[in-house]
Every structure is written in structure tokens, then in C-alpha cells.
């Protein structure tokens, strides 16, 4: 056999080995992918890992030290408060109940006495002694019982006397767990009371604005996608037909898609302006609405969300159209012709032949589009900045608001990471569907 490396003037093992190293494809291949790996590590893997870590700390702007707090940023509840609304002071004879209720303002008083390790507070009204609360501190017991006696609204329902907390429920301090709170309630409240637990934690799920942001994100994404399809399909069918100026129209169509939203957003700001809106101007001058009833597009919560969907549809539907158009043009003419020969009318051709053939590519576009809308920050930030009063806040803008503007880095990271599992499930589901479709 001929040696692979000819024994030439280069003698000795080391030079031959070096030559062999450069001849080998492996190291060279790794050298070629190294920049990509470095890039992915530095700009994708590291920030991602970092945001996961951030979301598990109490990091905030200006804090010198970040403490690990586990999943508290994500958690629904961190602490609980026992809240009481109604205390049934007495249950019995109707006339007696009325007498107790009548007497409590004039004759009622609170008596607190030690009871073992704890202190028990009772209300004394006329001849009745009604135990109300029992706590660890004497002051606490007295305070709560006094509140019940003096500050609550006493009412008689049938034979019941109810001390009703209309405005401010009475709090029994904070508890770490729901179970603790229940135990405390059983131990402390001695009268029959209607109570509930209020969570007042700091996890993002506890934040009403976060829940609103999740709802808005879903509204924004799926509302937009449906409308995009609604306009994209007929538009693509229109452009699929051959007519003069079709190329020009196709070119014009993509303009919203290629103009940076930072620029087109300014135009939309004027269109949606509360005072100078051209839409209002047209409607007023056409006599459709009176100047007093003009739309406040960005100031009304529903209109603001609607406006955002309109802007996103305006921007995104050319892409949907182009993709569907690409799908349509990829259908061989002969298949459409065969469908005509087979007896399919235009609607049947679309429904039974063209639509199923466009569906895979449509799903790909939908996938992209959903991801873009789901993570869209620019449009919302430019048009409404999440306003009015956070009513159009989506997850990305809210994460920015909390994490950067408010400086709660950990919580901001947690909010933005909430997008991740939702996206993974969505994308995985759609890819799975596509794979099945292509079988």
C-alpha cells in the first residue's frame, strides 16, 4: 500500500504530525464554527441564563447585593392576611337581637382578660358577654374588639346581630402560608365570622397589572393574527390574479412591512392624536359625529387596544399576504386546471385544493407572526406606552416598565421569562402540527 503521506525530504515524526493536523478537517471545522459559538454564547446563551438568574433574585436598581429568593418573583402568593368582613355577634331571639344591637353604642364595652398564655377580648353589652377575639398580645385583642364594637356597622338580620365591615375589613396580621392563616383564624376569632384570605405578596402573578398584561398580550397577539388572516387571504387571492400593475401593487403592499415602526409609528401617533386626529376630522366634517364626541383613540382603554391591533395589522398583514401569495404561486397551474376539469367552481377550488396546499406555508408564516406579535415591544411603546393607566400594557412593555423604569430587575426578568414557556408550547404545538401535515 502506498503511504498516505509521502515520505519526502521532511524527515522525522514531528513535522509530519503538524502537517497531518492541518490536513485534518475536524480542527478546521471547529475553527470555522468557533465565531458562531462565541457569538451565540455571548449574546444569546449568557443573557438568557443571566435573566433566569436575575429572576430568582431580589435584584433592584441601586442595590449593591442580590439575594437569592428562589421562585418568589414568580410565585402567586408570598404572604397572606386574614380579613374579616362580618362578625355574627349574637344568634337567637329576634327581640333580644334587636336589644343587643340597640344597646351596643351606649352600653357596650370591651373587656380583655388573660387566658392562659393569650389574651381574650369580650364585648359586654347589657347582660351579655360575647367573646370576640383571642390573640397573643393584650393590645391587639383590645384593639380588634374595640374596632368590632365601635367602628363596625351593627345590623340585625332576623335573630342575628351582625357587625359588618363595609369599608375596611379587619386584618389579623400577615401569615406565610394559607394553612397558618387558617389556623390563626380558628384560634383567634371566637365569634362566627365571615372571613377570607387576602394575598399581599410581591410575586408577579400577584400583581393585577401583570395579569392584565398577560390578558392584553393574548388579546393583542391572537386578535391581530385573526385579522391579518382575514385581510391577508383575500388580498393574496386578489394579487394572485394577473392584471396590469400587479407588480407595482405587490411592491407597494410591502411598504408598511419595510418601514421601521419607529417612523411609521410617528405617523400613527398623529392619526390617533386626541386633538388632531385625521380620522376625527374626517368624521366630524362628514357630519357623522359631532365635535363633542370625537374619539380619544389613545385615551380610552378599549380604543387604545383596538388602535394597537389596527397598527399591528397594518404593519403585519403585508407579510401574511406575501407568504400566502408565495404559497398560491407555488401551486402548479395544472392542479388548478385539473380542479376545473373535475368540476370545482371557484369557491370549491379554493376550499378543497388551494387552501389545503397553502396551509403548511401559512402555518409557518403564522408561527413567525405569532412570535413577532407576542414579543412585540416597539408598536405598543410608541403608540400607547402601555397607557392609559396600564390598560394596554403587554408582557414585554410591562417587563420593561417594572424591570428598567421601576428598577426591580429581578421581577422584570421574571415577567419577561413568563413569555418563554408560553412561546415554547405555542411553537412546539405548531411545529408538531406542521410535521404531521407533511407526513
Amino acid at each position: 500500500m502506498r503511504p498516505l503521506v509521502a515520505p519526502t525530504a521532511v524527515s522525522g515524526a514531528p513535522p509530519m504530525q503538524r502537517l497531518a493536523f492541518f490536513e485534518r478537517e475536524g480542527p478546521f471545522g471547529y475553527a470555522l464554527v468557533l465565531p458562531a459559538i462565541l457569538y451565540l454564547t455571548a449574546f444569546i446563551a449568557y443573557p438568557f441564563a443571566m435573566s433566569i438568574w436575575l429572576s430568582m433574585t431580589d435584584a433592584s436598581a441601586g442595590a449593591s447585593k442580590w439575594n437569592y429568593i428562589g421562585l418568589d418573583n414568580y410565585s402567586k402568593v408570598e404572604s397572606w392576611e386574614l380579613i374579616a368582613n362580618d362578625f355574627v355577634i349574637f344568634d337567637g331571639d329576634k327581640a333580644e337581637a334587636q336589644r343587643i344591637a340597640d344597646q351596643h353604642k351606649d352600653e357596650g364595652k370591651v373587656v380583655t382578660a388573660p387566658d392562659g398564655d393569650r389574651f381574650k377580648a369580650s364585648l359586654q353589652i347589657g347582660s351579655h358577654t360575647i367573646p370576640v377575639v383571642e390573640t397573643n398580645g393584650e393590645d391587639d385583642a383590645t384593639y380588634l374588639a374595640t374596632t368590632i364594637l365601635n367602628d363596625l356597622d351593627w345590623q340585625v338580620h332576623g335573630g342575628k346581630v351582625v357587625a359588618h365591615a363595609a369599608d375596611s375589613p379587619i386584618s389579623f396580621g400577615t401569615f406565610e402560608k394559607r394553612g397558618d392563616a387558617n389556623d390563626a383564624r380558628k384560634k383567634s376569632v371566637l365569634v362566627d365570622s365571615t372571613t377570607h384570605l387576602k394575598a399581599n405578596g410581591t410575586g408577579v402573578q400577584q400583581d393585577p397589572n401583570f395579569l392584565l398584561a398577560v390578558k392584553n398580550t393574548l388579546k393583542y397577539t391572537f386578535g391581530t393574527e385573526l385579522v391579518k388572516l382575514f385581510f391577508g387571504i383575500p388580498c393574496a387571492l386578489l394579487l394572485y390574479k394577473k392584471f396590469r400593475g400587479r407588480q407595482l401593487l405587490r411592491g407597494l403592499l410591502v411598504i408598511p412591512w419595510v418601514i421601521p415602526i419607529a417612523i411609521s409609528g410617528q405617523a400613527w401617533l398623529w392619526i390617533l392624536d386626541s386633538t388632531y386626529s385625521v380620522i376625527n376630522w374626517l368624521l366630524v366634517h362628514a357630519g357623522i359625529i359631532s365635535p363633542a364626541n370625537i374619539f380619544n383613540f389613545r385615551g380610552d382603554a378599549n380604543l387604545a387596544m383596538f388602535s394597537l391591533v389596527v397598527v399591528n395589522v397594518w404593519r403585519g398583514f403585508p407579510f401574511t399576504t406575501i407568504v400566502i401569495l408565495a404559497g398560491l404561486t407555488s401551486i402548479p397551474d395544472e392542479i388548478i386546471e385539473r380542479a376545473r376539469l373535475d368540476g370545482a367552481n371557484a369557491l370549491q377550488r379554493f376550499w378543497y385544493v388551494m387552501a389545503p396546499m397553502v396551509r403548511p406555508i401559512l402555518m409557518v408564516s403564522l408561527l413567525f407572526s405569532v412570535v413577532f406579535s407576542f414579543t412585540d415591544f416597539n408598536t405598543i411603546w410608541i403608540i400607547t406606552r402601555g397607557g392609559p393607566y396600564d390598560q394596554t400594557q403587554v408582557l414585554s412593555t410591562y417587563a420593561y416598565q417594572v424591570g428598567v423604569n421601576a428598577g426591580y430587575l429581578g421581577k422584570g426578568a421574571a415577567i419577561s421569562l413568563f413569555l418563554f414557556p408560553i412561546m415554547v408550547v405555542t411553537v412546539f404545538g405548531m411545529l408538531q402540527w406542521l410535521r404531521r401535515e407533511n407526513m
Binding site: 385539473r338 376545473r340 376539469l341
Partner: protein, 353 residues
Amino acid sequence: MADVVLDKVVKKFGETEVVAGIDLTVRDREFCILVGPSGCGKTTTLRMIAGLEDVTAGDIRIAGETVTFKPPRDRDIAMVFQSYALYPHMTVRKNLAFALELRRVPKAEINKRISEVAEIIGLTPLLDRKPRQLSGGQRQRVAVGAALVRQSGVLLFDEPLSNLDAKLRVHMRVELKRLHQQIKSTMVYVTHDQVEAMTMGDRIVIMNAGKIIQVGSAMEVYERPATRFVAGFIGTPPMNFFEGEIRNGGIALGGDVQVALPRAVEAGRKVTLGVRPEHISLHAGKPHAAKVPSTVEVLEPLGNRTIVTARSPAGVLQIEAEANPGLKPGDAIELWFDMSRAHLFDQASECAL
């Protein structure tokens, strides 16, 4: 009865006349082949019969009924496309059923027809597959099957075999011919392949530049080509042509080659002599044989015979010789034209004399 009549049919795309007023009657249950070089208008003619192209002028009648302005679905036709045109998202069964379902044929009837057709063309084991899981030949069968289940009076084929490999094409040729004998439909078949045209058709319609040049059976067009175009188009290797002039009872070809003619043609006429390769021999002996001295250039052995390309003073020519002619390039040989089988064409009109 499903005959197809084209009556002075014209098709123009803008100013370009693609089909220049053709008259053709395809008889009921006939296997009619439209053949010609690309751009001759044969596919356009077929598509006009199908209703996929508007007719600029003239009339089309199918089974005695004028269908010129009827949509494709109202004509009694089914078509097999060059690319098969199978619906990729439907199974084979659904592909076959689609046209029938649109026509609201009862379910039982559909199933019956599908199983019949599947049996005829051997699709039964493939019925639940999708087109992408089939080979080229199988897709071809499905395309034919989808046309057959329609049980239409006329079946149109648009170069259905051109996407198959050579071996499969030969096989399908036989299958289609057998199919034609089994079913009752009239078939109109477009191809650019003269071998397909020769082997399959009851009648061959040879088209060129939007016109019908000749209509006839395979042997008719082979033996008696109406024009030089037909003579050159039909037959492989193609007929050899030599320009010449009638002189002294024979033809004076280029390079001072004079061949005798078995029949009289007026002197001084400019003609083209056409001789098929199999009518040129390496050996003398036949009556009406004319001698032409030549030099061997290329030998192409085919096993059962050898194609010899030779250069004569009158021009380059190809002959069909026996399997082992015992020649090598550069050999000087004498070729004998069988003038009784030779064709003469007028140079100006290109028509046969």
C-alpha cells in the same frame, strides 16, 4: 358516441397566431395522436378541446354538441396532465373520488368505480397512500386512474409520459394502448415524441406552426409523408435529405453525384431527395439502386444493427447497416440508394412529388 370535431379553430395569443385554423374530426373511440415539434400548437389545441383555453375563432363539437363556450366541467372530458396534477394533500382514493364527489355521484357508485379502475391499472394496494409516497410511474397511473373514473366520453392526454424514464415510458406506452382497447372512450393524445405517436395511435395528426400537415395511420405517414417536414419528423434515425435538380432523367446532387430516378419528373425542377437510412445499403444488387461513393465517419453499434454516419460528395448521411459491417472510420465505401423507396420533395413548396 363521443367524436370530437374541430371546425376552423383559431387561437391567437395577442398578435401571435398559435393555432391557424385547423379542421379535424376525431372519430368515436379512436386513439388520436397530435404530434409535432414544441410550439406547433398541439398542446394549445388539446387545451381548447378541454376548455382551458378560449377559442379565438371556429367551433369545437364533442358528440355532436357545440362546446366552444362551455366551461371545462360541462364538457364530457377528462384529462391527464404532463405533471400528473395530483392533489398532494389527498390520498390516492380521494384523488380518484374528488371529481365524482363534486358531481354528487352516490357514495356506493364512487367506491364501485374506484375499485374497478384501481383493478384495471393496478392501483389497489396504493389507494390509501399520498402522492408523495408514490414513484413516478405510480403517480402516472393515479393520474390516468383519476381520468378513467370519470367515465367521460373523451380522454385527453397532455404528454403524459414525458416525465418518466425511458424504460418506464416504453412500458406505459403498451399499458395505455391496452387500456384504450379495454375502455370505450375516445382518446386524444398530445406528444412531441414521434416514436410514441407511431406506436400508440390509430391515427396520427402531425402539426407544425399551428397547422395540420398530415393525418394518417403510422404506416401511411411513414411510407407516404406529405411534406419534407413530415418525412424528417417521423422515423429514427431521421431521413437523409439531399438538395438537387432533375437532369437527364435523374437527379444531379451536390458534388457531381448523379442518381437515376425510377420515374419521370420534368427536367430542371429543383427538388429534395429523401432516403431513409434503412433504404441505403452497403451492397449492390437491388434494382433501382443508385451508387454514391462515401467515406465512413462515425460508427454507432446498437447490437442488432449499426448506424453508420458517412460523408458523400452530396452531403453527410446516415445509414442503417447490419450488426457487424466490418468498417472503421476513414474507410472509403460505396453506398447504394434504393431509389424505388426514395422520396422526392419540391424545394419551394416542400410538398411530396
